[in-house]
C-alpha cells in the first residue's frame, strides 16, 4: 500500500528499507559464518573454508564442520525463516498482534501428535517425530479454521484467536495427562519440547525442504492482499479482493511452514511473534516488506541464539529455544515501549 505521495518521500523511504534489508543480510551472513566456525572446538575460518571446498575425510575439524555444523546451520536458518514468515501471515490473517504459532494452538497440536507417537507407537528419534508433528500442526490449523467458520460471523480475527487458544488448551491438557502418567514418555518428550537444533541430520531436511519452499511461495503470493486485509474485510472487498481466498491460502502456507519447523526443531516459541514485530517497526504495515524482512531476520535470530547457546555453557550447550526467549523478551519489550500505543 504505497500511498501515491510525492516521489521524493516515497523514494527515500524505499531506499531506507532497502538499506535496512541489505544490512540484515550482511548480519545474517556473519552469523552463518559464526555458526559454522564456533562451538566446543572453535575452527579457524581457513579450515571452515577448506572443509566446505576440499574436505579431508581424516581431518576431525572438517568432519565436525561438515557432519554437525552445516546441517545444524541450514536447519536453523530454515526453521527461523519458516516461523517468522508464518508469524507474519498469522498476524495479518487474525489482525491480532499476539498471533503466533504458539498462541493459535499449532505448537500444542504438533506436541499432542508427537506425544501420541511416543506414548502409543514408541517412536523415540527426531526423525520419527517429523510426520506426527506435521500432521498435528495441519490438523490443528484446519480445526481452528473450521471452528472459526462455524461462528455466525465467519472466521473473524477474534473467533480465530479464541478458537486457537481453546484448541491449545485441550491439546496441552491431553499432552500433560499423557506425560504425567507415563515416565517413559515424559523422558522423551521433555527433551523434544524444549526446542533444539542439535542432532538433526541433513537427511531430515532432504524430506522437508519442499514444504518450506511451497509455503514461502504462497506467503509471498498473498503478501499484497494481506496488506489490504489489514484495512478490514469490507475495504478489501471494495477493492476487488477475495478476503476468504487470502485467508485460505495463508492458512495453507502457515500449516506448511509451522508444521515443518516444529517437526525439525520442536515447538520453538517467540520467533513467530517477535520477528514480525521487528519488521513492522522498521517498514510499517506493508506485508510484502514485512515478509521480506522476516525471511532474513527469522534465520538471523534462530542462528544467533543457537551460537550463543553453544558458547555460554561449554562444553555443554543451552537449547536454542531457551536462548531465543532470553534474547527475544528484551527485544520485544524495547520494541513495544517504542510504539505509541493507546494510553490508558
Amino acid at each position: 500500500m504505497e500511498p501515491a505521495r510525492g516521489g521524493a518521500a516515497a523514494r527515500s523511504r524505499r531506499s531506507r528499507r532497502i538499506v535496512g534489508l541489505a544490512g540484515s543480510v550482511v548480519a545474517l551472513l556473519l552469523v552463518v559464518v559464526a555458526s559454522l566456525a564456533l562451538g566446543t572446538r572453535a575452527t579457524p575460518l581457513v579450515e571452515v573454508l577448506a572443509a566446505l571446498t576440499q574436505p579431508e575425510p581424516t581431518n576431525p575439524l572438517h568432519t565436525v564442520v561438515r557432519e554437525l555444523r552445516v546441517p545444524r546451520t541450514v536447519i536453523g536458518a530454515l526453521v527461523g525463516l519458516a516461523l517468522a514468515v508464518a508469524g507474519c501471515l498469522m498476524q495479518g490473517v487474525t489482525r491480532n498482534p499476539l498471533a503466533d504459532p504458539g498462541l493459535l494452538g499449532i505448537n500444542a497440536g504438533a506436541s499432542l501428535f508427537v506425544v501420541i507417537a511416543i506414548a502409543l507407537f514408541g517412536v523415540t528419534s527426531p526423525f520419527g517425530f517429523i510426520w506426527f508433528a506435521f500432521a498435528g500442526a495441519a490438523a490443528t490449523a484446519a480445526l481452528v479454521y473450521f471452528i472459526g467458520t462455524l461462528a455466525r460471523d465467519g472466521a473473524t480475527p477474534v473467533t480465530l484467536a479464541l478458537a486457537g487458544m481453546a484448541i491449545a488448551a485441550v491439546s496441552t491438557s491431553i499432552v500433560t495427562l499423557l506425560i504425567i502418567t507415563d515416565v517413559q514418555t515424559l523422558n522423551t518428550f521433555r527433551f523434544w519440547q524444549v526446542g533444539s537444533l542439535a542432532g538433526r541430520g541433513i537427511d531430515t531436511l532432504g524430506l522437508l525442504w519442499p514444504f518450506i519452499l511451497v509455503g514461502l511461495l504462497l506467503a509471498l503470493f498473498v503478501g499484497r492482499d494481506l496488506t489490504l486485509l489489514a484495512f478490514g474485510d469490507d475495504v478489501a472487498k471494495g477493492l476487488g479482493h477475495n478476503a476468504g481466498l487470502t485467508r485460505g491460502l495463508s492458512a495453507v502456507a502457515i500449516v506448511l511452514l509451522c508444521g515443518t519447523a516444529t517437526a525439525l526443531a520442536g515447538p520453538l516459541v517467540f520467533v513467530g511473534l517477535v520477528v514480525p514485530h521487528i519488521a513492522r517497526a522498521v517498514v510499517g504495515t506493508d506485508y510484502r516488506w514485512m515478509l521480506a524482512y522476516s525471511v532474513v531476520l527469522g534465520p538471523l535470530l534462530v542462528l544467533l541464539a543457537d551460537v550463543v547457546g553453544r558458547l555460554i555453557v561449554q562444553p555443554s550447550e543451552l537449547e536454542v529455544g531457551l536462548v531465543i526467549a532470553v534474547i527475544g523478551v528484551p527485544v520485544l519489550v524495547a520494541l513495544v515501549r517504542r510504539v505509541k500505543g493507546r494510553t490508558l
Partner: protein
C-alpha cells in the same frame, strides 16, 4: 439473547438495565444450583462412598467418626479450595479481559501464572523445597512478573496493547525456563514439578484454605467498591474522564485486584490452566451483551474447577490426575461450542 435490544420500539434505559439484571440473576441462580449439585455429588463419591443421608448429619457434627474423617480431612478441603480458587481465577480473568480489552488477556497468557510456575519449579527442582515454601515462591513469582510487566509497559500511562504484548513475552520466557529446568531434573522430581505447574487441589489443607479465605474477603470487598468505576471505564477513556473518573488510578486499582486474586489462588492451587481464560467468555456469552458478569464468571470458575477435580479423581482409578489437566479438557470445548453457536461473537468478545 437479543430480544430486549431488537424490539422495534427501543425500551427505556432503566428497562434494559432491569432486564439485564434479571438475566444476570437468573444465570447466576442456575449456576449456583449447578455448583451445589457438583459439590454434593463429589462429597459422596470416592473410594469410600458416603450416602446422601449420611452427609448432612456428618457435616453438622452428628455422624460417624469415619465419615467425619473422610469428609472433613479428605473431601471438603479439596472442594472448598477448588471453589475458592475457581472464584478467584474466574474473576481475575474477567477483570484482565475487560481491563486490557483483549479476549486473550488472561493470567495464563500474559505470563502471571507462568511466573508463579517458573518460581515454583525453581523451588522444587533447584532449591529442593516443598509445601508452604513453594506456595510462597509461587506467590512471589506471580507478583514479580506482574510488577515487571506493569513497569515495562508503562510509559506516559499504562497501555493495554503494551501490557499484553510484554506479558506474552514473559509467558514465553517462563515456559522456556520451565522446559529447561525439566530437562535438567531427574524423573521423579520432574513429575512433581510438572504436576505443580499444571495445578490441582488434591493436597488441600485447612491452613492453606484459611490463608486464601482471609485474603479473598478484603479483595472482593475492594472489588465490589470498584465495580461502578469499571462500568464507567467500559464506556471508553474519554467518556469516563468526562464523567469525572480518575481513569489511571481506577485502572491500577482493578489491575492490582486481578493480580492479587491470581497470585493467591495460584500459590495454593497451582495455575489451574485456562480457568481464568474460559470463565469470563463463557459468562459473557450466557449473560449476553457487553456486561461485566463478574458473579457468573466467578461461579463458572468454581464449577469448572470443582467438576474438573471430581472428574480427575474418578476418571482413572488409582491414578492421581491433577485437576488442572481436566480444566482445559472440559472448559475449552464448551467455549468452542459457544463460539460456534453464538450469534454475537464479534460484539461480546
Amino acid at each position: 439473547m437479543t430480544t430486549s435490544l431488537a424490539r422495534p420500539i427501543a425500551p427505556t434505559l432503566p428497562a434494559v438495565r432491569r432486564q439485564l439484571a434479571r438475566r444476570v440473576a437468573l444465570v447466576s441462580g442456575v449456576l449456583a444450583v449447578l455448583l451445589a449439585a457438583i459439590v454434593a455429588v463429589s462429597l459422596g463419591t470416592g473410594a469410600y462412598p458416603i450416602s446422601p443421608e449420611r452427609i448432612l448429619p456428618t457435616l453438622l457434627g452428628a455422624g460417624e467418626s469415619k465419615d467425619a474423617f473422610v469428609l472433613f480431612r479428605l473431601r471438603l478441603p479439596r472442594i472448598v479450595l477448588g471453589v475458592l480458587a475457581g472464584v478467584a481465577f474466574g474473576i481475575a480473568g474477567a477483570l484482565f479481559q475487560t481491563l486490557l480489552r483483549n479476549p486473550l488477556a488472561s493470567p495464563d497468557i500474559i505470563g502471571i501464572s507462568g511466573g508463579a510456575s517458573a518460581a515454583a519449579a525453581f523451588g522444587i527442582l533447584i532449591l529442593g523445597v516443598s509445601g508452604a515454601m513453594v506456595s510462597l515462591l509461587a506467590f512471589g513469582g506471580a507478583v514479580a512478573v506482574a510488577l515487571a510487566i506493569t513497569l515495562l509497559a508503562s510509559r506516559e500511562g499504562l497501555s493495554g496493547y503494551r501490557f499484553v504484548l510484554v506479558g506474552v513475552g514473559f509467558a514465553f520466557l517462563a515456559q522456556s525456563v520451565i522446559g529447561y529446568l525439566l530437562t535438567r531434573a531427574d524423573e521423579q522430581e520432574a513429575v512433581a514439578a510438572l504436576a505443580w505447574t499444571v495445578g490441582g487441589v488434591a493436597g488441600a489443607r485447612w491452613d492453606d484454605i484459611g490463608v486464601i479465605a482471609v485474603t479473598l474477603v478484603p479483595l472482593l470487598l475492594f472489588l465490589a467498591a470498584l465495580v461502578p468505576r469499571i462500568r464507567t471505564l467500559q464506556l471508553g477513556d474519554d467518556t469516563a474522564t468526562g464523567l469525572g473518573l480518575r481513569v489511571v488510578s481506577a485502572r491500577y486499582g482493578v489491575l492490582a485486584v486481578a493480580v492479587a486474586l491470581t497470585a493467591v489462588a495460584t500459590a495454593y492451587a497451582g495455575p489451574l490452566a485456562f480457568v481464568a481464560f474460559v470463565s469470563a467468555p463463557i459468562a459473557r456469552r450466557l449473560v449476553g451483551g457487553a456486561h461485566l458478569a463478574i458473579i457468573p464468571a466467578a461461579l463458572i470458575g468454581a464449577i469448572v474447577v470443582t467438576f474438573a477435580d471430581f472428574a480427575a479423581s474418578t476418571l482413572i482409578p488409582g491414578v492421581v490426575v491433577p485437576a488442572g489437566i481436566v480444566t482445559g479438557i472440559i472448559g475449552a470445548p464448551y467455549l468452542l461450542w459457544l463460539l460456534a453457536t453464538s450469534n454475537r461473537g464479534r460484539r461480546n468478545a
